[in-house]
């Protein structure tokens, strides 16, 4: 019996898997595009402008300005999680897509890597679009203060990889579609509310901030907040490092779990 190497064994096959997902998505590009196109407008209108009228921040900024980095972090996170939680599970379990791919020279590690890269791609497309909308609305809403904000796109690779890896790790242990209720209710929803997107953390009790440190989204929002405001701080590098470590950990976990699921 051959020992299974701990390090992922990845080839160009990962890119083939990415191409498969791209082709499948482009087939339905109209429906895909519609969802992405309307989302940021709806949320800016509803939360930023409608709800924002009732919110007064200590910093004096408009709520919609405060919200911008949060939206830039949240919606790409959703794009990655939907793709690599539901989407991957459907491909794994309902469609047998993984099974058909690993019958070719492509390995399980390639499949997982390709899936994560695709989830990351979707989150980057989503993030770029939100940033574009924010720029376009800038004359009226002043959501972006600094050109540094553009850096949010390359930086976004990291949370894209992280949230894709977390999601596919869960997909690899899920036994039914209904199990995703646990994932979305226990992991993604709390992150949505307590990831620092909707309210400032600074004035909250200390225990709240400690908990916040463990929430991946909080680090993403912190980095984007700095970039969008043009206020660069060393703590942003810390957050970047936190995300990098978590990404590697969850990527390795995803590969291990999916090998166990598919190779037996």
């Amino acid at each position: 019996m051959t020992a299974i190497p701990f390090t992922p064994e990845v080839s160009t096959g990962a890119f083939r898997v990415w191409q498969r997902n791209r082709d499948a998505t482009l087939r339905n590009w109209k429906t895909e595009f519609l969802g992405i196109a309307i989302e940021p407008f709806a949320i800016i209108l509803a939360l930023g402008l409608a709800l924002g009228r009732f919110v007064e921040l200590e910093s004096g900024e408009e709520y919609v300005e405060f919200l911008a980095p949060g939206l830039l972090a949240l919606f790409p996170m959703f794009a990655a999680t939907f793709e690599c939680a539901w989407g991957s599970y459907v491909r794994l379990e309902m469609q047998g897509t993984y099974e058909s791919i690993i019958a070719t020279p492509i390995s399980v590690d390639d499949v997982i890597t390709g899936e994560i890269l695709w989830g990351t791609t979707r989150s980057l497309v989503n993030g770029s679009y939100i940033l574009l909308v924010a720029f376009l609305l800038n004359p009226w809403l002043h959501m972006v203060d600094s050109p540094w904000a553009v850096l949010a796109i390359p930086v976004g690779v990291l949370p894209g990889l992280l949230f894709s890896s977390i999601s596919i790790s869960f997909a690899s242990i899920a036994r039914a579609m209904s199990h995703f209720a646990y994932f979305f209710n226990l992991v993604i929803n709390p992150m949505f509310w307590f990831g620092g997107a909707f309210f400032p953390f600074d004035d909250l009790p200390r225990w709240f901030q400690i908990v916040g440190w463990f929430v991946p989204l909080k680090h993403v929002v912190d980095i984007y907040r700095g970039l969008i405001a043009g206020e660069l701080a060393w703590s942003m590098l810390g957050s970047l490092a936190w995300l990098a470590v978590a990404t590697v950990a969850f990527y390795l976990l995803a590969v291990r779990l999916m090998r166990r699921r598919l190779i037996h």
Binding site: S11, R20, D23, T97, I102, A103, T104
Partner: protein
């Protein structure tokens, strides 16, 4: 001299305490169709999964085209074409895209396989469905597309795991025709099936597996002659008449009988079977027919013998 494409020696697969495959050895030679028969749970699919490098071998040697499956899984999979038991075509892609994207998994670009895909679509009578959704295809079309997909990398061995299960007779015969055509073109095949007719017609050699072991190996017609005999007499008679009739058969001499509920089988009865069939009070209660693969299969894996 024909070369051996798949070589298994003492192949074992454990799942915890459960032994799914218990030391099987076989050779699959270039150009032949090799069948694996066996009841559900016999270890057929597990054996296939080991060959396709999606299930680690617990013990024993397994090589494909001279490559060790454990150490060179990618190279092994590159020379195989796999038709799984359940269709796993890509419903997110159109019919033709299914073949193109699959070819890309083998590192074959669209241009390189254009002609091969055209041919495959024509051969499997799918050329007018090239732009269809996979979900709109009938069961038979999906099967044919799955086989076409498995050929897209021009494999050295085509592995078919129950290729016609769940198809209606028309669709099944069409698939058989196409598999015969592939065979005549020299495609090497490994086939598992529950249809004895399929095995008899398509396979040059076959093994019957049971509880993880190979019970018998040989050419279908040799196995039938050897195990079931040229003729089988089926009787459905009242006990008294049956016993009187059976007493007429010569003892030993290769004659065997089997009682299943109210049905009696007599194997290897030869001339005595012929005479018995004529003497039965009601001719509808006796049926003399050629031995077949199903007899071989049931005799070896199913029921105990009477004698």
């Amino acid at each position: 001299m024909t070369s051996v494409l798949i070589e298994a020696r003492g192949l074992v697969k454990h799942y915890g305490d459960f032994v799914a495959v218990d030391g099987v050895s076989f050779d699959i030679r270039e150009g032949e169709c090799f069948g694996v028969l066996g009841p559900n749970g016999a270890g057929k699919t597990t054996t296939i999964r080991m060959i396709t490098a999606t299930s680690p071998v617990t013990q024993g040697q397994l090589s494909v085209a001279g490559l060790d499956v454990g150490t060179e899984p990618r190279q092994v999979k590159a020379v195989l074409g796999v038709v799984p038991q359940e269709d796993n075509l890509d419903p997110d892609l159109l019919v033709r895209q299914n073949l193109e994207v699959y070819a890309r998994y083998f590192g074959l670009g669209r241009e390189r396989v254009r002609q091969r895909i055209d041919e495959a679509l024509a051969l499997f009578q799918l050329d007018d469905r090239a732009r269809s959704n996979v979900d709109d295809l009938s069961g038979g079309m999906k099967r044919r597309l799955t086989i076409a997909r498995a050929l897209v990398n021009d494999p050295r061995v085509l592995i078919l795991d129950e290729p016609t299960t769940g198809l209606d007779p028309q669709a099944r015969h069409l698939v058989w025709q196409q598999l015969r055509l592939l065979k005549s073109r020299g495609v090497t095949m490994l086939l598992t099936t529950h249809y004895m007719e399929e095995a008899t017609h398509l396979c040059d050699r076959l093994v019957i597996m049971h509880r993880g072991r190979i019970l018998i190996e040989g050419r279908p017609h040799d196995l039938i002659a050897e195990v079931a005999g040229p003729q089988v007499l089926e009787l459905r008679l009242p006990a008294a008449e049956r016993d009187a009739l059976l007493a007429e058969f010569p003892q030993g001499d290769g004659v065997s009988m089997e009682q299943v509920e109210d049905l009696t089988y007599v194997f290897g009865g030869g001339r005595a079977s012929l005479l018995a069939a004529e003497r039965v009070s009601d001719p509808h209660r006796a049926h003399l027919r050629p031995g077949n693969m199903e007899d071989v299969f049931l005799l070896l894996t199913g029921r105990g013998l009477l004698d």
